[in-house]
């Protein structure tokens, strides 16, 4: 029997627990030549900001063992162009579309939300308070529970659509931040964004990234991501969307067992354009092999050591 892979995140019904992570799947159709994005549980679009951004100086990507560093700096088309030319292209796409936003100030977050929340193609909003690659906001916002509360208090009255807060792992106490987001009205949490990292070319003594530090993603961060997801799941009762280094269905199952209700795949998309589909079929196979009828029965089932 085919297992039931559907999951519920707030008022959002996903056909399966696998979404593609912001910044790794463009605005939704870039990979359509490789597979039908309607097969995904959902897509999360690239972070949009009020104004278009070109991003940081090159080099802004580099490879490290089992990981990649990026300091893209939220290069995006800006919210107006997103509304006018990107979202309409997704009109007939039969999967959930989650729009990801980031501002430099609390007011900017609110303004962005007001602009996009009522769009019929936006099924949920992921609030990026955690990008390590911009001067203002970003990391500082995500590391401060009181600022997250402020952003949520300002946004919550504006929409009934699910608000998903995307957290950074670059904090000492993920539990208090997760709890603050929940009590301020978040419907779900996504974690983790990239881990602050750096690399040096010893021949030239130059940093691998022009910005010196950047965000580490890929398999190298999976153990960190799992620990953060596990800790956050202990602190809140809203659903958690786990991500960080997922390459296979087995990786995704680890996140589900640790307490995530759904997952996202990021860096994998760059390496294997249809990798997200392999993650879905890997989860399905695990369920069949282990007699699990509903994927939701697997969530948070970590056994005692």
């Amino acid at each position: 029997m085919k297992p039931d892979l559907s999951v519920i995140i707030g008022s959002l019904n996903l056909k399966n627990p696998v979404m593609t992570a912001s910044g790794t799947f463009g605005y939704g159709l870039e990979y359509a030549d490789y597979f039908d994005p309607a097969m995904l549980g959902g897509i999360i679009t690239k972070t949009v900001t009020l104004e278009p951004r070109a991003g940081n100086r090159m080099p802004r990507i580099a490879e490290t063992p089992a990981g990649m560093l990026n300091s893209i700096g939220l290069a995006n088309v800006g919210v107006e162009s997103f509304l006018e030319s990107k979202l309409p292209e997704l009109e007939n796409l039969k999967t959930a579309v989650i729009a990801n936003i980031a501002g430099n100030t609390v007011e900017e977050y609110c303004l962005l939300l007001q602009k996009i929340a009522n769009h019929p193609r936006v099924d949920a909003i992921e609030v990026n308070v955690s990008c390590p690659n911009v001067e203002q906001g970003g990391l500082a916002f995500g590391a401060d529970a009181s600022v997250i509360e402020e952003i949520m208090h300002c946004m919550r009255p504006e929409t009934d659509k699910p608000l998903i807060v995307k957290l950074t792992p670059n904090v000492t106490d993920i539990q208090s931040i997760a709890a603050a987001a929940e009590s301020a009205g978040a419907d779900a949490l996504s974690l983790i964004n990239t881990v602050l990292g750096m690399g040096v070319d010893i021949q030239t003594r130059k940093p691998l990234l022009a910005r010196i530090t950047g965000g580490l993603s890929g398999p190298a961060i999976k153990p960190i991501a799992l620990a953060k997801v596990y800790q956050a799941a202990q602190a809140v009762s809203i659903p958690i969307i786990g991500l960080g280094g997922i390459m296979t269905g087995e990786d995704a199952v680890e996140f589900l067992i640790a307490g995530a209700s759904a997952v996202q795949v990021g860096t994998l998309n760059f390496i294997q354009p249809d990798g997200a589909l392999q993650v879905i079929s890997g989860i399905e196979k695990y369920c069949i092999d282990h007699g699990i009828e509903r994927i939701q029965d697997l969530v948070g089932t970590l056994a005692e050591a």
Partner: protein, 262 residues
């Protein structure tokens, strides 16, 4: 689907560090265009994690084969050099825009530096099939990296070589050959320039190209992750302040429009 595991037919060292790999793919042989690249996963493992972009070096349509020419410079290319014929090479592609050969010109002057020689072979093969006149100015550090030029000469290509060690052709840089060429030809509107090579070479050719009245196309290199415009990692700055992606808007750009820091 533009991902394929292609059988490796031959894999040989041309010098101590430069390798040629020949793979079989009917689809790629049909679809590849000069100046495009393949995004290669050197092995099925999480390390190295990302694909590596390599230009299409040559296509032999009759044999359904694609050739790549690469230099071992780091972890990924070192592992790649250990692949054996009969094994599979996982590639995404063809990617990128390729050279614009529709633009009107009769005579191509091609300037290649170092591994910039890789895409040039496919370009020349195609230009000769189109009946164009071709001048190749090719510079390398080590004369042993010059190969395959006799067949081009036999097909009428004007081949000029510069080597830093002086073992083949003129001792010096490609610009030492380009300057006298342009002294005669800079206002010849039947020409089109093509440049492939390291950034410092592109930047010095750009200065010379600025004084010519014909168009120039340059193939750029930048570190890549996705290879298809999604990650926004491989930007190139244009003089009008626009940022373009090398993988998706390029790798071929109008040389005169590129902004070089140096």
């Amino acid at each position: 689907m533009y991902i394929e595991s292609c059988e490796i037919l031959t894999h040989e060292a041309i010098t101590k560090t430069v390798y040629r790999i020949v793979v079989s793919s009917e689809r790629l042989a049909r679809e590849c265009y000069p100046g495009q690249f393949l995004h290669v996963k050197v092995r099925e493992a999480i390390d190295p994690l990302l694909r590596r972009p390599l230009s299409v070096h040559r296509v032999i349509p009759k044999k359904n084969t694609i050739e790549l020419l690469y230099r071992v410079v780091g972890h990924g290319t070192r592992l790649m050099s250990g692949l054996k014929s009969g094994e599979l090479l996982n590639v995404m592609g063809p990617l990128g825009n390729g050279f614009d050969l529709e633009t009107p010109f009769d005579h191509a002057v091609i300037v290649a530096g170092g591994m910039g020689g890789a895409p040039v072979f496919f370009l020349i093969d195609t230009l000769l099939d189109m009946g164009k006149q071709v001048t190749l100015i090719w510079g390398v550090g080590d004369g042993k990296e010059i190969f395959g030029i006799e067949t081009f000469k036999a097909r009428g290509v004007d081949v000029q070589i510069a080597t830093e060690d002086g073992t083949v052709g003129k001792k010096g840089l490609v610009t030492d050959l380009l300057i006298p060429f342009l002294a005669k030809e800079k206002n010849n509107s039947t020409l089109c320039g093509f440049v492939c090579g390291p950034e410092c070479m592109l930047s010095s050719v750009q200065k010379l190209a600025g004084k010519t009245s014909f168009p120039w196309q340059a193939s750029l290199e930048e570190r890549m992750a996705c290879g298809i415009g999604v990650c926004r990692g491989c930007g190139v700055q244009l003089r009008n302040a626009d940022m373009k992606m090398v993988c998706d808007d390029g790798p071929v750009f109008n040389l005169k429009e590129i902004y070089f820091e140096a």
